[in-house]
Structures are given as structure tokens and as C-alpha cells.
């Protein structure tokens, strides 16, 4: 029997499930086929909608489901937007909450359903470890904030880059630095989530491969039987890593939402605490 090659990147391979026609949007060919990535997004959205549809009751004394739904809402409303932006942040709670929830559900799915990868279960695909998706979220958030800034404050919004009290030349130098640090934000937003999810999944996949490869080696008998020990250790490692990845999944969703809130705050409370 041939030993399976260790291919930690195979889990990120996209393949078509349902072929759909390609449409052209502004000269760009968009293949609308349902892939494993898109199926996972759909499952995530359905899970999200089903969860809130089932748990969002109006009881004064909540049950567990309602308490969880309200906790998720409060994380955005009273932990992030309330303290960071204040009362004027209320209209933006749905957007930040949507960001948080979609990232959270896709992150958690990719860890919780990870075993599905072995069974070829397509909805276990790690959508948030696709740079295309994290970049979309980051650019969407960045551009929305930028547009909102110009809508609310007009051209004087560019004074965001001017640091007062630096003189003309110092100020000009600071404008360049401030602009770089400002426009690098979507890049860091996208790469942080992408890197965290990618790394975690690669490491888990590697240890998973070790369990199988070393286990098969051990089955060949003789002195190789000792390979069961590192195989078992690798398995213990996966158990620990799964817990860690669950934390990372929740934390990265929170971090993305928190940074989006901070960026939004600069626009909403423009010129206040600047």
C-alpha cells in the first residue's frame, strides 16, 4: 500500500459542484458555478438565519438559545459599538453585527465540521481562509467607511491625514505616513483573518496527516510499531489544536468587527477625539 502524500493545501482546493453559466460583468467573466466554497457560504448563511429565526424570542426571561442570541447582539451593541462610537453608532450596529456573524459562523464551521473534510463533505470548506473572501470583506468595510466619511464630512474629510502642530514640512511628511497607514488597513484586515484561518487549518491538517501516516507505518510491524507513539501524540495535538482553533475562530471574528468599529468611529466622531 502506498503511503498517502501529506498535502495540507489540498483542503483549500476549490472544485465545482453545480455548473452554472458564466456571466460577464463589465468585461469580467464571472463563473457563477456553485463550488464547495460557495456551498459552504450558503450553509453558513442558512445556519445563521435558522439560528436567529429559532432563538430570537421576545421573552423577558430568556432561555438558553435566546440568551445566546442576545449575547451575540450585545457583543456588538454594548461591547464594541456602544463604548467605542457611542449613541451615534447605533445605525451601524447591523453592519458590524453582520460582519461579525458571517465571519464567526464560517470560521466555526470550518473547525467544527473539519472532520467532514475527510468524508469529502463539501460544506466543511474553510471559506474564511480564502483570500478572495477576506479581501472582499476588508475592502467592502474600508470603502464603506471611506464613502460614509465623504458623505458625512465632504472634502474636509481628507484633513484626517493632517496632523496639527507639525509645521508645513513635518505635516507633509506625516500626511504621507498617515496615508500609508490608512490605506494599509484593508490589507491588514484581509491578511489577518486569512492568515489565522489558513495557518490553523494547515497545522491541523499536518498533524492529521501524521496520525494517519505514522499509524500506517506502525501497522507494518517490527520496530516500526513504535510509530504508534508519535501517532497518538499527534492525535492529542489535534485535540488541543481544535480547542485553540475554536478560540481563534471566535477571536478573529471579534477582532475584525472591533477594527471595523474603530475605523467607523473615526468617521462618525470625526474631529472629536482626533
Amino acid at each position: 500500500m502506498q503511503q498517502p502524500a501529506i498535502q495540507p493545501m489540498e483542503q483549500f482546493m476549490i472544485h465545482k459542484i453545480v455548473s452554472l453559466p458564466t456571466v460577464h460583468i463589465g468585461g469580467l467573466a464571472v463563473d457563477l458555478s456553485i463550488t464547495n466554497s460557495i456551498l459552504s457560504m450558503m450553509v453558513g448563511a442558512v445556519l445563521l438565519i435558522a439560528f436567529f429565526a429559532l432563538t430570537a424570542r421576545r421573552e423577558i426571561v430568556p432561555n438558553r438559545g435566546q440568551a445566546l442570541a442576545e449575547s451575540l447582539y450585545n457583543i456588538i451593541d454594548r461591547v464594541l459599538v456602544g463604548p467605542i462610537i457611542g449613541q451615534e453608532g447605533k445605525p451601524y450596529v447591523p453592519y458590524i453585527l453582520s460582519l461579525f456573524l458571517i465571519i464567526l459562523v464560517l470560521n466555526l464551521m470550518s473547525v467544527v465540521f473539519a472532520i467532514g473534510n475527510l468524508a469529502g463533505f463539501d460544506a466543511a470548506f474553510a471559506v474564511t481562509s480564502q483570500l478572495a473572501i477576506t479581501a472582499t470583506l476588508a475592502i467592502l468595510t474600508f470603502v464603506s467607511v471611506l464613502v460614509l466619511g465623504f458623505i458625512k464630512h465632504g472634502p474636509k474629510f481628507v484633513s484626517l491625514f493632517w496632523v496639527p502642530g507639525m509645521g508645513v514640512f513635518g505635516g507633509a511628511a506625516m500626511v504621507i505616513i498617515e496615508m500609508i497607514s490608512y490605506f494599509v488597513r484593508p490589507v491588514t484586515l484581509a491578511l489577518r483573518l486569512f492568515g489565522n484561518m489558513l495557518g490553523g487549518h494547515v497545522v491541523m491538517s499536518l498533524f492529521g496527516s501524521f496520525v494517519v501516516a505514522l499509524g500506517i507505518l506502525a501497522l507494518s510491524g517490527g520496530i516500526a510499531t513504535l510509530a504508534f507513539v508519535p501517532s497518538a501524540l499527534s492525535f492529542a495535538m489535534i485535540v488541543g489544536l481544535t480547542g485553540l482553533e475554536l478560540v481563534v475562530a471566535i477571536l478573529q471574528a471579534f477582532v475584525f468587527a472591533a477594527l471595523a468599529t474603530v475605523y467607523l468611529n473615526e468617521v462618525v466622531n470625526f474631529g472629536h477625539g482626533h
Binding site: 469580467l28 435566546q66 442570541a69 456573524l101 458571517i102 481562509s129 483570500l131 472582499t136
Partner: protein, 174 residues
Amino acid sequence: MATETQQGTEAPAASGGLPQFDFQWWPGQIVWFLVIFAIVLLFVRLFVSPRVGGTIDARDGKISGDIADARRLKDEAEAQAAAAAAETAQARAQAQRVAAEARAKAQAEVAARLAEEEAKLAAKGAEAEARIAKARDAAMGNVASIAADAAGAIVGKLTGKAATAAELSAAGRA
């Protein structure tokens, strides 16, 4: 396996880097993701935020309302207790006053009755004394006539002639 066959065609593209940088999948993923994200955003905006946020606000409102109600009821109860205590104190004062009045009245009555009785007794005593004095006078009068009689009888016996009544009474008086 599907992935195996896919790998055959895409391995050259993927081997150069991560499968994430295989840009043929980007447009489809981005368009689908935007559509799905828009649906989630609509759902959150139209259902989750009003429903969950509304319930939380309603609960906060109810809790603060209930606390305010309880505080108001407590204040009311305290005011009532204070009023009741004041009423009790007033009632006690009145009762004490009434009792004092009654006692004073009773004492006055008793004193009046006592005085009346004493006066009655004094009158009776005086009457009795008067009667005694009268009786003594009568008795004394009788004694004089008895003495005159006795003297008349003694004189008659001694002299053989009856003394006059005037003489006898003078002698008796002497």
C-alpha cells in the same frame, strides 16, 4: 475522487503557491459572497436588530420601570407608615387627655360628694347635739321638779305642812 482529478489539471497552478491564489475562482466567490452577505445584512437589519435589540431594550425598560415602581411603592408605604405613626401618637395624646379629664372629673365629684357627706354628717351631728342638749335640759328640768317634789315631801314630812310651790322651786334652784 473529484479532488484527485481536479488536482491533475490544477496542480501546476497550485504547486506554485497556495490554492487561494488560483484567481480563476475569485470572481465567482466574490460575487456569491457579496450576494450572501447582502442577504445576511438584510436579515440582520430587518429581523435580528429590531427583534433581539428590541427585546433587550424592552427588558431594560421593564427592569428599570419595575425598580422605579418598587421605589415609588416603598416611598408610599413609608409615607403611610409615618402618617399612621402620627395618627397613633395623636390618638394616644387624646386618650391621655381624656383619661386625665375623666380622672379630674371623678376626683372633683368624689371631693364634692365627700364634702356633701361631711356637711350632712356635720348637720346630723349638730342636730344630735342639739337633741342631746334639749334632752339634758329636759332631764335637768325634771331633776329640779323631782328635787322640788322631794323637798316638798321632805318638808311636809318634817314640818307637817306643805311648803308652797314657789318656795320649793327656789330651794330647788338654790
